[in-house]
Amino acid sequence: MKEFDLLVILAVFQEMLGPLLWLLLAIIVLGTLAFVLLLIRERGVVSRRMVFSQTLSPLGGAFALILMAKVSSSGFTDAGGPVDWLLIALVFSLGLVGSGIILYTIGGWWSILRGNKPA
């Protein structure tokens, strides 16, 4: 199994999340694709929409932390050492960046599909 550490991690994630794993992977892949296509179509970043999504994205980071605390039966005073703060920062960042991109992408395609000019 020395050669298949990634497969092992995938197996563990599959046990942890069940079919949800594939749904989440699909969201990540399709979301990234939609984001890239949006960038190409709009020929770059629309700064007003980016600022708007960045304003809301800390909520995504906070949501990620709440979710993490919930699924691990943790409280908000449990961090005990530097690696805990790193993990908290990592989870928050994932929520922050993920929700920022999602909001930006949804906003972009929403206006395109409604036939509006890019905001």
Binding site: M1, I9, A11, V12, A64, M68, V71, G75, G80
Partner: protein, 452 residues
Amino acid sequence: MKCEHSNIRDELFHLPDNPRRAFLLAAAASALGAAGLKPGVANAAGSKVQTQAHIVIAGAGAAGLTAAAYLAKALDGAKITLIDARKEHFYQPGFTLVGAGIKPKEYVLSSTAEYLPRGVELIEARVAEFDPDGNKVVTDSGQSIAYDFLIVATGLKLEYGLIEGMEESLIGKEGIGSIYHSPAGAEATWQAMSAFADKGGRGVFLRPATEMKCAGAPLKYTFITEDYLQRRGQRGKAEVVYNSNNKALFSVPIVSEKVRMLFQERGIQINYERVLTAIDPGRRIATFKTPEGSEEQGYDFIHVIPPMRAPEAIRNSPLPWKTGQWVDEGWMEVDKGTLRHVRYPNVFGVGDIAGVAKGKTAASVKWQVPVAVDHLVAEIAGKQSDALYAGYTSCPLITRLGRAMLVEFDYQNNLTPSFPGVIAPLEELWISWVMKTMALKPTYISMLRGRA
């Protein structure tokens, strides 16, 4: 019951109710990748070995099922027979969390059939007789099963009856708890402990003088109870006493010392060389054997951990140690590096039944089984295996709700951290708790399926 768990948990952690879901677990879970998942050794070449051999596995717990999965992957044409009377499978590393009110008992319950590898036969019976001279086992229904190779994974027996006055039916009543007993026993223990944490009083904790499953669990449950007393504002009205069977708190000296420091910090009183011999539920008195004679201790809550030894069928067979410290307890005399029986080369002992120092944890199984299977498969293939088990085991030692120390060690009492310099083994960390609550069970289930 589920509801109550969730209420208590929410009360403690002030969290909204949410279903399990998250790709945000990525960080923790990829970290856990390494914890339980250092590479195994069996079948590294990838191609299956052709054989007609009949391999019998006695016991379908963590070790038996994992062995079946590894063998099924490594061999083609072999007849693999698992023998176990119990239909349910228990995720035993989760018993502490059930006893702590963090998880419902369903969290640790599943069925053996879910993990049975394709092509492996399951006989729902108990092995009543081991005859390694005749290369056969006999079930309690009288069926005689011959084998070419035998893997013994029967686990161990909790001997509540060896404590005078103690009965399994008392668990959850009269202030008596015992998370080891079963999923239901762990849940009943939570009820008893929670009632104690609401009132305070004298909490008595202990461990048996025999070898035992997860020697960290007695300490974890002491820490958890103390934490609940704190959180419910009853710590001032409570006395928490830990009775060690010998002169240490843990077999690894550096860990023992760390636990002593934490106990002192939390005001947990330590008694050394106390072994529970009797219990009087009516009077709530526990009697301990000490070097000076017997000693009575009153309690409002007691966490009873019974003596543990090999099942009777093993003790009555030629398989146990003939000399040394494990004669009475009946653990199998296997080579500590290969898990192969020292007198019967076609017999292996893995999991709790193996007469080796340390271990008796799922982490030990994770590391023992690939080694034993590698030797077995190598012999079938006419080769030699150099796979060795160094005694690795691990214990996410919960020191309060929300924090644990990820203690990993080997036969030589060396600490063997999976993440040196990142996750300090003797530091109380949230990340270690996250692994325990989120990552360990999926890792364990993957192990049962031979995928980790």
